[in-house]
């Protein structure tokens, strides 16, 4: 056997696998990442502050767990009740609201349940249930899933009333659930960004949006250095300062996807 | 100078497998010099007997092999040729060199000696061939060179010519003859009566795992004592 080239290959494989800059790990939700805003913000953050932000794209539930375990330095999620509990539990230093976007309902372009003319989000859900029109739920305990369950509760349609014949729990991320809805030609609630970026729309169309109940508040939570001594608390605070700066406001408010504005900056300073 | 390991005495040796006695009890002595042929019908236990002498079979309690030196030293002074020669997946030269390299001889010295042994058995032109592509006769000669490279005092051979044609058998016997001339003690099994007549100085005749006769070749072929040996030499089937 010629050992030379194999040895070279081996050395290369084992050589330093990761180059460490001043990096900070932040857990974010799938919906935030799918919006594409991160790709605009991260290079600017690196340019302005020198921080390389490494994104862990997970569901809200897992993002909070990552923060509790101290495996990330900060989280950016959208589930107010769970976030407040996180801070109360001592895992987060505080909760800082940054911006919001909104959820929309999409479904078959023929709109068999007729939700396009609904007066509110809850009425739209009522129409879907009445007609027994297929509806795909994330079913993965994510922020989006929790939001959806809250809306069903507001509409007075409890879990037992949502029959398996039309209510399908995908147990998957936003993209996979959208693929499922596209395959079944079913209704689904999604954040606007994921919908706009989604490449496999099929017969689906955006049918209902605009109810303030569908607004989706993002908040930034640095992980507490008292709980986990190793977290990069200083970098996390530096990042927070940047996220609430005028520069961030301009970039967030100015972010346009497929001709539409996605996020509204609302951080209090 | 290496101490001589012979004679070997075997006392009350029994080999059992799954409760059945394959060979024994054996009481015998392998003297310092000579060429002993182990004869007997198929299934008599020739292979097991040779393996027993080589220390490859576990003896039932009570039996023992006694060399003139302790076991580990004696092992290094023995060679063994199996009926189907075991070819390592290496070149012919490296097969012959293996017993030296594995016991710490430098690669260069081992290859030099191996080349000499290959020449001696007439395989110098096949040195770089993979051993597994050699013919049956070549394999057996290669195995012989490999068994002899550490210059053992005693060489065991288990029907080495069973699968060889006439010419290969003749060549192999000539090699064996010269090895014996140089003083190597030989114990070989065969069920080819002609080969036994050509080579034997002594004969052990075994049947049902027992040595029925251990005598000089002359006496054995002239006047066998047991009726089984008489029948065997006549060419009858014996059970």
């Amino acid at each position: 056997m010629k050992m030379g080239p194999l040895l070279a290959l081996t050395l290369w494989a084992l050589s330093t696998v990761s180059a460490q800059a001043e990096s900070l790990k932040m857990a974010v939700t799938t919906s935030f990442h799918n919006s594409g805003l991160a790709e605009v913000l991260l290079p600017e953050i690196q340019k302005d502050t020198g921080i390389e932000v490494q994104l862990l794209v997970v569901g809200t539930g897992q993002a909070l767990r990552l923060g509790e375990a101290g495996d990330v330095d900060a989280i950016l999620v959208h589930s107010k009740a769970a976030e407040e509990e996180f801070v109360l539990g001592g895992f987060g230093v505080h909760r800082r609201e940054i911006m919001f976007n909104d959820f929309v309902f999409v479904g078959p372009s023929a709109d068999p349940a007729g939700i396009a003319g609904a007066a509110s989000a809850t009425e739209a859900l009522g129409l879907i249930a009445q007609n027994g029109a297929s509806f795909v739920s994330r079913g993965d305990d994510s922020g989006t899933h929790k939001k959806e369950l809250g809306l069903w509760a507001d509409a007075g349609i409890d879990a037992e009333a949502r029959a398996v014949s039309w209510y399908k729990e995908a147990g998957a991320g936003m993209g996979a659930s959208l693929n499922t809805a596209s395959g079944l030609n079913a209704y689904i609630m999604t954040d606007r960004a994921s919908w706009l970026k989604f490449g496999n729309k099929g017969d689906l169309a955006l049918l209902y949006a605009g109810d303030p109940a569908l607004f989706n508040q993002y908040a930034y939570l640095p992980v507490s250095p008292e709980m986990h001594g190793h977290v990069k608390a200083e970098l996390a605070l530096q990042l927070e300062d940047w996220l609430v700066s005028d520069r961030a406001r301009d970039l967030i408010d100015g972010y346009v996807l497929e001709g539409g504005r996605l996020f509204v900056f609302n951080a209090k300073r | 100078m290496v101490e001589t390991i012979l004679p070997l005495s075997v006392e009350n040796a029994v080999v059992r497998r799954r409760g059945k006695v394959l060979v024994g009890p054996i009481n015998a002595e392998v003297s310092e010099t000579g060429l002993t042929i182990v004869m007997g019908p198929n299934g008599a236990g020739k292979t097991t007997l040779l393996r027993l002498l080589h220390g490859m079979e576990r003896l039932a309690s009570g039996g023992q092999l006694k060399w003139q030196v302790p076991e580990p030293q004696a092992r290094g002074q023995q060679g063994f040729l199996f009926q189907a020669p075991i070819m390592m997946r290496r070149s012919a030269l490296e097969n012959v060199a293996y017993p030296l390299t594995v016991h710490g001889v430098s690669r260069k010295d081992a290859r030099k000696q191996a080349a000499e042994w290959l020449a001696r058995v007439g395989l110098q032109d096949s040195a770089d061939k993979q051993a597994t592509v050699l013919s049956g006769g070549e394999r057996q000669k290669l195995a012989l060179a490999r068994a002899l490279i550490r210059q053992p005092q005693i060489l065991f051979l288990d029907e080495p010519c069973a699968n060889l044609d006439g010419r290969a058998t003749r060549e192999f016997e000539a090699l064996l003859h010269s090895v014996h001339e140089e003083g190597t003690r030989i114990v070989m099994s065969t069920h080819d009566i002609g080969q036994a007549r050509r080579l034997a100085q002594d004969v052990w005749f075994i049947h049902h795992g027992q040595i029925l006769e251990a005598t000089s070749a002359e006496l054995f072929f002239e006047d066998p004592k047991s009726k089984e040996a008489r029948a065997f030499l006549k060419g009858d089937i014996i059970e």
Binding site: G70, K197 | G79, I86, D128
Partner: protein, 234 residues
């Protein structure tokens, strides 16, 4: 059919334009899996060989366990390694979670039983062949293992390559312990998973074709390297 064609075209485009991101994640895929294969081979090959040569009381049990572990679900391995490496887990102090090192560790856990099991089977046959000779030549156990490893190197290479095949295409475990972080722990398989989630089937498929091409290329390269010295064949 359209999607597949689009995938092929996209793959060709990415390759011919030497797309920087593509090269980065492909190299990372190779590094992670080659490192894991190397470590697993250093453990698995001698282990498989030792199991073939050595008789001991629980040998059959160990071999059966090893064979069963070949089917370890990567997701479960990923989860366990995750919990061990998490800051709140026993090895948290090393801060390895969400690094390529964590991905290598998870893959070593997945690949070692596979490599050990395949090499055990290959060496068992070789040992049956060599047994009498090596006993007759009065070799020690260590010498036997070294001889079998060397003479069985062709089969062992196959075992390692099988490990590589499983590792390079693995997504469940490395997604969990690596986190699929862009420019840090994103590899081909996790990128495929991500793009599929976004509904970008063409890009996902393109990455898939590149992954397959890479696996084939590595196999061909290693086979040709290992064949250069051989004069005969068996």
């Amino acid at each position: 059919m359209n999607d597949i064609l689009a995938g092929l075209l996209h793959a060709a485009h990415l390759i011919f334009t030497l797309d920087a991101d593509l090269i980065e994640i492909s190299l990372r895929s190779l590094r992670v899996t080659l490192s894991a294969v190397l470590v697993s081979s250093l453990i698995g090959l001698p282990l498989g060989c030792w199991l073939a040569v050595q008789r001991f009381r629980f040998r059959r049990l160990v071999i059966a366990t090893l064979n069963a572990l070949m089917g370890l679900p990567p997701v479960v391995v990923g989860l366990i390694v995750y919990l061990l490496l998490s800051r709140s887990g026993p090895f948290g102090v090393f801060g390895l979670l969400f690094t390529p090192t964590a991905m290598i560790i998870a893959q070593v856990v997945i690949l070692t039983p596979l490599i050990a099991s395949i090499s055990h089977q290959a060496i068992r046959d070789l040992w049956a062949e060599y047994h009498d000779l090596l006993i007759s030549l009065n070799t020690t156990r260590r010498q036997r293992i070294m001889t079998l490893l060397w003479d069985g190197r062709r089969a062992l290479l196959t075992a390692s390559l099988a490990g590589f095949g499983r590792g390079i295409g693995e997504v469940g475990a490395i997604m969990i312990v690596g986190g699929n972080i862009d420019h840090a722990t994103r590899v081909l398989t996790t990128a495929i998973s991500l793009e599929t989630g976004k509904g970008n089937f063409a890009l996902a498929l393109a990455l898939g074709f590149i992954l397959i091409g890479l696996a084939v290329a590595v196999n061909l390269i290693i086979h040709s390297l290992s064949r250069t010295e051989v004069s005969g064949r068996w």
